[in-house]
């Protein structure tokens, strides 16, 4: 049984169909990279997976527990709030814009949700948060406020905040896109380290070299469809589909 599965999802904004019958499933310990041009639907897919958007139709499952399933008309029906609350604890999301809480210091950004949402023991959570801060190379910054940190540091706090919830799977929505090029390295390093620890991750990214390096599987999306999917050495190094080739070629030029 896969840890996460999103099945036959379709989603439109008005007349614009952004997701067309997409199915993705992720096993425990797997690292999946989603690539594709802007507007291809990859971010929307991630937002559907994390329930920031509701699917028009399709099913969403974590650990075999249904967050949403299709009714007789093929429309997505979401589980009751109590079930969703439990399912939400299975995953975390790291945003492109970090979205740290500016009025909380680093430590509180990490600890508040575990203590007040998961109702875990404060001392235990604080201890765990401190070790995550250390792991992210942010020792001594625990009482800094987000705006006192660089973009790279803020994103590391955001990753630590997601990890502090002890998720089974972590989603990344273009985690380095808002950063200056010289700061992307520190984030990629952190993600790479998590991959080595067999953290289950789905990463939407424009960093092709990184995707090839760290992912077990790459999904190429375009126009709301999954165009190509497979091992990174196949999809990125030897794409079979014309659209993938075009995208990667353009990327090589720009990059």
């Amino acid at each position: 049984m896969s840890l996460f599965e999103i099945k036959n999802v379709s989603k439109s904004f008005g007349d614009l169909k952004v997701l067309n019958d997409i199915t993705v499933s992720v096993d425990k310990g797997e690292v999946v990279a989603i690539i594709g041009p802007s507007g291809s639907g990859k971010s929307t897919l991630l937002r559907c997976a994390t329930m920031l958007e509701t699917m028009d139709s399709g099913e969403l499952t974590y650990h075999g527990e249904k967050a949403a399933s299709n009714d007789a008309d093929g429309k997505s029906v979401y589980a009751p709030a109590s079930a969703l609350r439990k399912i939400k604890s299975y995953y975390g999301l790291v945003f492109q814009q970090f979205n740290l809480f500016p009025h909380y210091d680093v430590l509180k950004n990490l600890c508040d949700a575990p203590i007040h949402v998961q109702k875990r023991n404060k001392t235990e959570v604080t201890k765990e948060a401190m070790s995550l801060i250390k792991k992210m190379g942010l020792e001594g910054k625990e009482h800094y406020y987000p705006q006192q940190l660089s973009g790279g540091q803020q994103q590391r706090v955001a990753i630590a905040r997601a990890l502090c919830m002890n998720p089974d799977i972590l989603f990344f929505d273009e985690p380095t896109s808002a950063l200056d090029p010289e700061l992307t390295g520190e984030i990629l390093k952190v993600i790479r380290q998590l991959a080595q620890e067999h953290m289950t991750m789905v990463i939407v990214t424009h960093e092709m070299a990184f995707a090839r390096d760290v992912a077990d599987r790459v999904i190429f999306m375009d126009g709301g469809y999954i165009v190509e999917e497979g091992r990174p050495e196949d999809v990125i190094s030897n794409p079979t589909e014309e659209r993938t080739k075009r995208f990667l070629a353009r990327f090589a030029e720009n990059g």
Partner: protein, 216 residues
Amino acid sequence: MSLISVIQQIASGFGATLLIFFCTLLFSMPLGVLVALGRMSKFKPLSLLIQGIISVLRGTPLMLQLIVVFYGPYYAFGIKLSTNWRLYATLIGFSINYAAYFAEIFRAGIQSIPVGQTEAATVLGYTKVQTFLKIIFPQMIKRTIPPVTNEVITLVKDTSLSFVLAYQEMFTYAKQVSAAMSSLMPLFVAGVFYYIFNLVVTIVMDRIEKALSYYN
């Protein structure tokens, strides 16, 4: 009649002015938050209703609203008005009027907070209430302090409007002393009182703003 006794007489109305001022803030601010939330409700009829009420409260004179609140119960329902109603009607009139203004300020404050804050909170599992109270509300307060300060300063001066209900606050006393003395001097003394009061208000609001400036 000496300046000192003029000051004493005017000061005797200062308590009533303070009462209107603090009670109005105490009631109108929480009410303003609720009204702002209702105004932003996805339930259209509620949102439209509140929009209409705000429009009337902001679009008609506060003086008229005070008269409506005070005499309304008698003219609409034939209820005899008690003496205390003079104060209560003043407080109700001021509170709902200021709630309308605060609601729009708070709404602007809430809407200026990036949607990412709510999304981050949602993904972390905060309930809607938690998200509002812990994440949105504190940031909203910080962002709205300058316009709120404007309103609070206006309120200090608006308390004098309660003269229409003959509620005996500072300016009413000032006018009475003025009439008794056949001189405008007491009105200027009252002006000094208002100015000093607002100076204190400005300092307090400034302190609050500074206290909240530990983050951006």
